[in-house]
C-alpha cells in the first residue's frame, strides 16, 4: 500500500468512526436534555427540550425520594459482592482445573462449560422455587448467590492459569511454599489482567441485571436500581413523567460512567483481551 493510501484510509476511518460515535451519543444526549425539562412541558411537546427554561427539578425529585438512595446502595452492594465472589471462586476453580490432577477433572470442566450454553430463562423457575423453599427471597444472598455461578469466569481463569508456565509453581515449591501460597502469592498476581477483565464484566452485568432482581426482590426496600426505576414509572410514564424518567436513567447510568472514567484503561484492555480470547 502506498504512503498516500495509508494517509487516506485513516482519514476516512476517522470520519466514519466520528460519525458512528456521534450517532451512538445522540440518544444519550437526547436523554440528558429531556431530563433537564419539566415533564408537563414535554408531555405537550418534546421539542420544547431544545428551548429554555431548563430545570433540575427532576434530579431534585430523585434526591428527594429516599428510596432511590436505598436502591443505589442495594445495587452497589449486590454488584460488589457478586464481583468479589466471582473473582474469588473463579480464580480458585480456574487454578484447580489448570493445575490440580483429580479424577473426573476433564468431565467436570465440560460440565462447567455446559453452563455457558444454558440460558438463565431455562432455569429461572427452578431457581425461584429453590430460594422460595429456603425463604431467602428479598435478601442480598438471593440477589448475589445465583450470579456467583460463573462458567465464563471459570473458563477464563482456567485458560489464563494454563498459560502460566508450570516452572514458576515448581520453583516456588522448591523454595518451600505450600500449594495455597503458590496460588495466592505467586500465580494470582500474574492473573491481574484476567481478573480485571472478569471483574469489569461481572460488575457491569450485576449492575444492569434486571430479570432476577425483578423476580426475587419484591420488597421495595430490597429493589436494585434497575428494578426500582422501572417500578417508579407511572402507568403511562412515557407520556406523563418523561423528564423524571430520563433523569432517573441518567442517574442510574452515572455510577457506571464514573467507574468507566476511573477504570477506562483497564476496561479497554479488558474488552480487547476478551476479544482476543
Amino acid at each position: 500500500m502506498s504512503s498516500a493510501a495509508v494517509r487516506r484510509v485513516p482519514r476516512a476511518a476517522v470520519i466514519g468512526v466520528t460519525m458512528a460515535a456521534g450517532l451512538m451519543v445522540l440518544p444519550m444526549l437526547w436523554v440528558l436534555i429531556l431530563s433537564l425539562k419539566d415533564s408537563s412541558a414535554l408531555m405537550a411537546d418534546t421539542t420544547t427540550a431544545f428551548s429554555p427554561p431548563w430545570t433540575l427539578v427532576n434530579y431534585a425529585n430523585i434526591v428527594g425520594d429516599g428510596q432511590v438512595a436505598v436502591w443505589l446502595l442495594n445495587s452497589t452492594i449486590v454488584s460488589l459482592l457478586m464481583t468479589g465472589g466471582v473473582l474469588f471462586l473463579s480464580s480458585l476453580a480456574g487454578y484447580g482445573f489448570a493445575r490440580l490432577e483429580f479424577p473426573g477433572r476433564n468431565i467436570l470442566f465440560i460440565v462447567v462449560l455446559f453452563g455457558l450454553a444454558i440460558p438463565e430463562q431455562a432455569v429461572i423457575i427452578g431457581r425461584h422455587q429453590l430460594f422460595a423453599a429456603a425463604e431467602m427471597h428479598n435478601t442480598y444472598t438471593a440477589l448475589v448467590m445465583p450470579g456467583l455461578s460463573a462458567p465464563f469466569g471459570v473458563f477464563l481463569m482456567t485458560q489464563y492459569f494454563r498459560a502460566i508456565p508450570r516452572e514458576i509453581d515448581e520453583a516456588a515449591m522448591l523454595d518451600g511454599a505450600s500449594r495455597f501460597r503458590v496460588f495466592w502469592r505467586v500465580l494470582l498476581p500474574l492473573t491481574v489482567p484476567a481478573q480485571a477483565t472478569l471483574g469489569i464484566f461481572t460488575f457491569f452485568h450485576a449492575w444492569n441485571d434486571y430479570w432476577w432482581p425483578l423476580i426475587s426482590a419484591t420488597n421495595r426496600d430490597m429493589l436494585t436500581l434497575t428494578v426500582g426505576i422501572a417500578a417508579s414509572q407511572q402507568n403511562f410514564a412515557q407520556a406523563e413523567g418523561l423528564g423524571f424518567l430520563m433523569a432517573q436513567a441518567v442517574f442510574a447510568g452515572l455510577p457506571v460512567l464514573i467507574i468507566y472514567v476511573i477504570f477506562q484503561k483497564y476496561i479497554v484492555r479488558a474488552v480487547a483481551g476478551a476479544a482476543g480470547q
Binding site: 408531555m43 428527594g64 425520594d65 444472598t141 423476580i215 419484591t218 417500578a231 417508579s232 402507568n235 412515557q238
Partner: protein, 439 residues
C-alpha cells in the same frame, strides 16, 4: 488459612441478610401500580392537595397511616401491571396483603384459587355489594362471589379537540361536538375534518402498543350485539361482524383519516399539540386534558370535550369497561391482626373513593356517582352514561391479558395493511382459542 479469606464475605452476607428493624405496629404490605412519586407527594396526607393517579393514591395511603397509627403500611410499587411480580410472590409463599388488580385479571387468579373471597367481609367494610355500581360489581364478581373491592371503573373514551371540530363545522348550535352515528357517517365527518383542517380526524395507536387497537376492536364488536366469547373456551372473531369492523378500521387508516406511526405517548403529545380531532384514550386523561383546556397557551384552550365511544353499529348501547380493584391474595401465614388491618385499609379506600374519582376514573360506588360533588367535576355529565351501559368482557374469559395482546397484534396488522383481514381474523380466533383451551 483459606477460611480466613472466606470469613469476611460470608459475614458480610449474613449481616446484610439480617438487616431489619423492630416495630410494634401491625404491618401490612400494600402492592400497587400507578407509579412512585414519593419526592412530590411523600409528605402529603390530604389527597385534595394531590393530582393524578400516583399523587392521589400516595396521599391516600399517607392519610390512612396518619389516621391509623397502629398500622404500618409497607408500600410496594411495581412496574405496571405487576402481575409477574405478584405471581412470583405467590409462588414464593410471600404475597402482599392487598394488591391492585384489573377486573380483567381477577378471573385468571380466581380460577387458580389464589385470591381470598371478600363477600363475607363486606359488612365489616360497611358495604353491601349493592353499593357498587353495576360495572364495578361485575368487575369483582366471579361465579357469584365477590373477589375484590373495586377502586374504580374505566373505559376508553373519545377525547375531542373542539377547536378543530368548530373549524370543520362539526359542532351543533349549542357548540357541542357532532358525533358520528354510523361508520359511513364517521368517514363522512372525517373527510370534512381533513379537508377543513388539514389534520387527521382520528388519533389512535398504530404501532408498538397493543392494548389500544384491541380495545377499539372489542368495543366495535360489542356494539354489534352478539357475544364475542360465546362460552369460556371459544372466541368468535372470524365472522362477518369481525370483517366489517376490520374493514372499517382499515378504511379509516388507508383513507388518511388517522395518524400513522404513533405509539401511546406520541398520541397524547399529538392531541395536546392540536394535531388531530379525536383521541381514543381512557378516563384517566380527562383531568389533564381539562387542565390544558384552561391554559391559554394550549391548542386545547377552551376547546376540549369528551364523549363515550359513539355507537356506530346496530346493537344495543354498550361501552367496554375495565376497572382497578384491591384484592387479597391467599396467604396462610397472614395473622388475624394483619387481615383485620388490611380490611381497615380497604374500608378507608371505599369511604374515600371520591378522591380517587378525581383522576377521571368512574367511582365504583353508587353514592358517589349520585353525589353533586362528583357530578360537579368537569365533563362527568358527558360520560356518566357509561356507568349504566358499561360492560366488561365476560368473567368466564379467564385469560384476558394475553388475549388482549393477541387481538391487538392481529388488529394492528390488519388495519395497517400488513396482513389481509381474513387472515388476521382467522389467526386471531385460532390463537385466542389456543389460550382459552390450554387453561
Amino acid at each position: 488459612m483459606p477460611l480466613r479469606y472466606l470469613a469476611f464475605p460470608l459475614a458480610a452476607l449474613a449481616a446484610l441478610s439480617a438487616c431489619g428493624e423492630r416495630d410494634d405496629r401491625t404491618e401490612i404490605t400494600v402492592q400497587r401500580f400507578f407509579g412512585a412519586c414519593q419526592a412530590e407527594y411523600g409528605d402529603v396526607i390530604d389527597p385534595q392537595e394531590a393530582e393524578g393517579e400516583c399523587g392521589i393514591i400516595t396521599a391516600m395511603i399517607n392519610q390512612f397511616e396518619a389516621e391509623n397509627p397502629d398500622i404500618k403500611v409497607v408500600e410496594n410499587t411495581v412496574f405496571w401491571p405487576g402481575y409477574d411480580q405478584l405471581t412470583s410472590q405467590i409462588a414464593a409463599n410471600g404475597p402482599p396483603d392487598v394488591v391492585t388488580m384489573h377486573s380483567s385479571a381477577i378471573p385468571d387468579y380466581e380460577a387458580r384459587d389464589l385470591l381470598e373471597p371478600l363477600g363475607e367481609d363486606l359488612p365489616a367494610l360497611g358495604l353491601t355489594a349493592d353499593d357498587f355500581t353495576a360495572a364495578a360489581r361485575a368487575g369483582v364478581t366471579v361465579d357469584g362471589e365477590v373477589m375484590g373491592i373495586p377502586i374504580d371503573v374505566w373505559a376508553p373514551l373519545w377525547h375531542i379537540n373542539l377547536n378543530l371540530f368548530r373549524e370543520a363545522g362539526l359542532v351543533d348550535s349549542q357548540g357541542r361536538p357532532i358525533m358520528p352515528r354510523s361508520t359511513e357517517e364517521f368517514l363522512e365527518h372525517a373527510d370534512r375534518f381533513v379537508e377543513a383542517t388539514g389534520k387527521p380526524y382520528f388519533i389512535q395507536v398504530t404501532t408498538k402498543d397493543l392494548a389500544g387497537p384491541s380495545r377499539i376492536f372489542q368495543v366495535y364488536m360489542m356494539q354489534q350485539g352478539d357475544p364475542v366469547f360465546p362460552d369460556p373456551r371459544h372466541a368468535d372473531f372470524d365472522n362477518a361482524r369481525g370483517r366489517e369492523v376490520l374493514k372499517f378500521m382499515r378504511d379509516v387508516y388507508a383513507g388518511g383519516y388517522s395518524v400513522r406511526d404513533q405509539d401511546y405517548a406520541a398520541n397524547v403529545s399529538a392531541f395536546l399539540r392540536g394535531m388531530g380531532g379525536i383521541l381514543v384514550d381512557g378516563t384517566w386523561m380527562v383531568g389533564q386534558f381539562d387542565a390544558a383546556a384552561h391554559d391559554p397557551d394550549s391548542p386545547l384552550y377552551q376547546g376540549y370535550a369528551v364523549r363515550p365511544v359513539p355507537m356506530m353499529f346496530d346493537g344495543p348501547p354498550v361501552s367496554l369497561v375495565d376497572g382497578h380493584n384491591w384484592v387479597m391474595p391467599r396467604d396462610s401465614s397472614r395473622t388475624p391482626e394483619e387481615r383485620a388491618a388490611a380490611l381497615r385499609f380497604l374500608r378507608f379506600f371505599a369511604e374515600n373513593d371520591f378522591q380517587w374519582a378525581r383522576t377521571g376514573h368512574f367511582p365504583a360506588y353508587r353514592r358517589i356517582i349520585d353525589s353533586a360533588q362528583w357530578q360537579g367535576l368537569p365533563h362527568r355529565d358527558d360520560i356518566a352514561i357509561i356507568t349504566e351501559i358499561g360492560q366488561p368482557l365476560p368473567n368466564y374469559v379467564r385469560r384476558q391479558a394475553p388475549i388482549e395482546l393477541i387481538v391487538g397484534e392481529e388488529v394492528s396488522a390488519a388495519f395497517t395493511g400488513a396482513k389481509p383481514i381474513d387472515a388476521a381474523l382467522r389467526d386471531m380466533e385460532r390463537r385466542t382459542n389456543d389460550v382459552l383451551q390450554s387453561f
